[in-house]
């Protein structure tokens, strides 16, 4: 299969314009580390951002960075770290979960709206993404947003591009708002709580004035208790003070430890990358976003019907669930639960045979699907960009 690696926006325009004329279906890719996510689709050629690399603008005092879409996330983080800054939304690295190799690109972080534990405090990738350049399905180079963080000029196509999985356009450059890396991080670990108690504790912490930047719960395998994690970040004086206040606020939960340093960093990285799921690479993995207080009921309903394992991030609002990778990988059970409790479930990992037979993303009501199809056609009338990667007909 042909792999196009445009060297600039004009190149990309020419490739896509020609594909549109010929009806060539294009697979949009970076380094392919997340190629096994989404609905399996048939394409004729690949257009990859791997030759579009490099940070194009970085103004630390203005809290803004732009990079070509194929720039490795690692490179962006390295450039930021040299000035004591970071991507606020703590993007997840899917390689562990998907067993893939290579360097994830910053374009994919935008295209898939990839965030991590700090999403509860600092927003998702889509909240920090302030500008994009992309080539639509007509082969036209389009810009939306810009390099300033307050910008309401015109329709916010930046938000549409974030999380559209390459179905609307081929991103060539992305611009993010960034934040200073905090001086100190400390994590309060509460032990022995069941799911409900844990979410209660997390809700108390998140409802406090102390700017919690991470709130996760990892149930024990015997389900009698687990580790409940509450993270604070900030200046030393502030973190010390707030940690004391949090302990006081949560004192009825008793078994508390403080975790700091490399161990804590590694733990949050495993929350971020969902590598806490007991896993041998042979089970299906679901990612569920729901109201945080609904998390435990959601998990209980799924566990009542399936051999499931799970943990919570986002104060209970993000559930990572592993299910047996056979039949529908638990899809009917998960979809029933989203109906009952609200939110949406995505099948992040499953064999292609399973992903091709069911909805990988949460099915939408027809009125929203009709809008989605209309939007798709408004960007990509020939339907050549990642067709069907998210939904049939989109």
């Amino acid at each position: 299969m042909t792999v196009h690696t445009p060297r600039d926006e004009q190149d990309a325009s020419a490739i896509i314009r020609e594909a549109a004329e010929n009806g060539t279906l294009l697979n949009l890719a970076g380094n392919g580390t997340k190629a096994s996510m989404g609905r399996p689709n048939q394409t004729d050629a690949t257009i990859s951002s791997t030759a579009l690399t490099g940070v194009t603008l970085y103004e630390p005092a203005e809290l803004v960075i732009s990079a070509r879409s194929g720039t490795p996330v690692l490179e962006v983080m390295r450039v930021l770290a040299a000035k004591g800054q970071e991507l606020p939304f703590e993007p997840m690295d899917y390689r562990w979960l998907l067993g893939s190799k290579g360097e994830p690109t910053i374009g994919a972080v935008a295209a898939m709206n990839i965030s991590g534990p700090r999403r509860i405090m600092a927003g998702a990738a889509r909240d920090s993404l302030i500008g994009v350049r992309f080539v639509n399905g007509r082969g036209e180079a389009v810009k939306s947003g810009g390099r300033v963080m307050k910008n309401v000029t015109g329709l916010d196509l930046v938000k549409l591009m974030a999380g559209s999985w390459g179905t609307l356009g081929f991103l060539t450059e992305v611009t993010f708002k960034v934040l200073p890396k905090q001086e100190r991080m400390a994590t309060l670990v509460i032990r022995g709580l069941d799911d409900r108690q844990a979410i209660e504790a997390l809700s108390i912490a998140l409802g406090s004035p102390f700017d919690v930047t991470g709130a996760a719960h990892i149930p024990d395998r015997d389900r009698r208790g687990g580790s409940t994690l509450i993270r604070l970040e900030g200046f030393r004086v502030s973190v010390d003070y707030r940690m004391n206040e949090l302990r006081r606020l949560l004192k009825r939960f008793r078994f508390m430890d403080l975790l700091e340093g490399n161990g804590a960093e590694a733990l949050w990285q495993s929350v971020r990358d969902a590598s806490l799921l007991p896993d041998h690479g042979d089970r299906a993995i679901w990612r569920v976003s729901t109201a945080p207080t609904k998390g435990p009921e959601f998990a209980a309903q799924v566990a009542g019907a399936l051999d499931a394992q799970w943990f919570y991030d986002w104060g209970g609002g993000l559930l990572w669930i592993s299910t047996p990778a056979d039949g529908d990988a638990g899809a009917s059970v998960l979809r029933e639960a989203t109906k009952a409790f609200g939110g949406h479930a995505t099948l992040v990992r499953a064999p292609a045979e399973i992903r091709s037979t069911l909805d990988v993303f949460e099915p939408q009501p027809e009125a929203l699907m009709a809008l989605s199809r209309g939007i798709k056609a408004s960007f990509d009338p020939a339907g050549i960009l990642n067709p069907g990667r998210m939904y049939a007909g989109v």
Partner: protein, 477 residues
Amino acid sequence: MTIAFPKPDEAVLARRREIIEGLGRLVASEALIVSEDERRAFETDGLTSYRRIPLAVVLPSTTDEVSAVMRFCREHGVRIVPRGAGTSLCGGAIPQEDAIVLGVAKMNRVIDVDFEGRTARVQSGITNLGISQAVAHEGFFYAPDPSSQLACTIAGNIAMNSGGAHCLKYGVTTNNLLGVTVVLLDGTVVEIGGEHLDSAGYDLLGLVCGSEGQLGVVTEAVVRILRAAEGARPALFGFEKAEDAGACVAAIIGAGIIPVALEYMDKPAIQICEAFAHAGYPLDVEAMLIVEVEGSDQEIEDMLRRIVAIAEPFRPKTMKVSQSEAESAAIWKGRKSAFGATGRVADYICMDGTIPTGQLPYVLRRIDEIVKSYGLGVANVFHAGDGNLHPLVMFNTNQPGEMEKAEKAGEDILRLCVEVGGCLTGEHGVGIEKRDLMTCQFNAVDLEQQMRVRGVFDPGWLLNPAKVFPLEGRLVA
């Protein structure tokens, strides 16, 4: 008065009686306003120099009524201008003669508050401050705080993706919105998002937010509510040069400190606001920063100590930390009433461009030159942390030609913002005011892509049609 409106559709005007009768069958009689006197109350918004009396005004009480009205309007080709409280500074809610105003102000209830889940579901006609007041007893608040928060509705905030002085830390509307109930033009009611984070499928929530009433009418919203900080305290720093104030802002951020607010005022703004609010602003400086930090007393003191140390090399002429609640309130009263206080001394138009903050000294110098070249004056207030400028171009409406000059000066200023890498509007929206300047920020392809997306929702340009996109070159499906 240089902004054109589309020519009213004579065929629609001729059917006025029939249209009003049709609407009368859909909503309660008190929800339909037809007399000229009462319609006049809706003829403009915060951009008061432009006025158009609408065909009729409908103020529904339910989503179903909104749906019925929209379906009717679509079937009968009647244009719709959605309206919250009518505080838009860019003319986003100004009607046109051949359109009805569809106002959501009567739908102003809090539907549900979930403190544990930190969300509130409200009807969209509730005021911005009304949400904070409804959750204040538990120590919570709704973060985006436009200056008009006492009056403006969440519907209008969503339409414009409004910001405020505290969005440096907390973000703007789109960052604090979890879900909306939207009535589409054909009357279909859709739920986008909900109590959870991030949407399934395309980010329609992010698309609707800031769409200036051109995609549908939002009747309910789910917003994030946050627990308020333990305390907050502002400090004032006065500088002899704009450059020093700008460099100080960069140094604060460079040191890893993101204050909850970081506001800039120039000399004319300081004097106007001080005369109004008696906030103790320094009158002998060229530029002033209000830096606010949050937390416990101990945290605030630590942070302010750091900020004072950072500011010192820039030789501030005054440094003053608020010592009491009353003093803090006065400091903010001065800043938040900048528009109103300016209105006491002159007529003005308020610009809203954003610039890369590194360009601040250059842009302020250029603004001064531009305004002087038209023989006018300007006061600058500015969200310094994020580069969002509010030059208030002052003029005398009784002097023939001055308003047109002010508009021209405003245009030049916005072009300048775009030239240095910024944008036309940071938080007020495009409305009619900046519609014809869109081509200096976007090329034809950029605008066409936006219009194609718009067309998915409203191919016939019935929703708030005079706004956002230049009247020339529109794509019609």
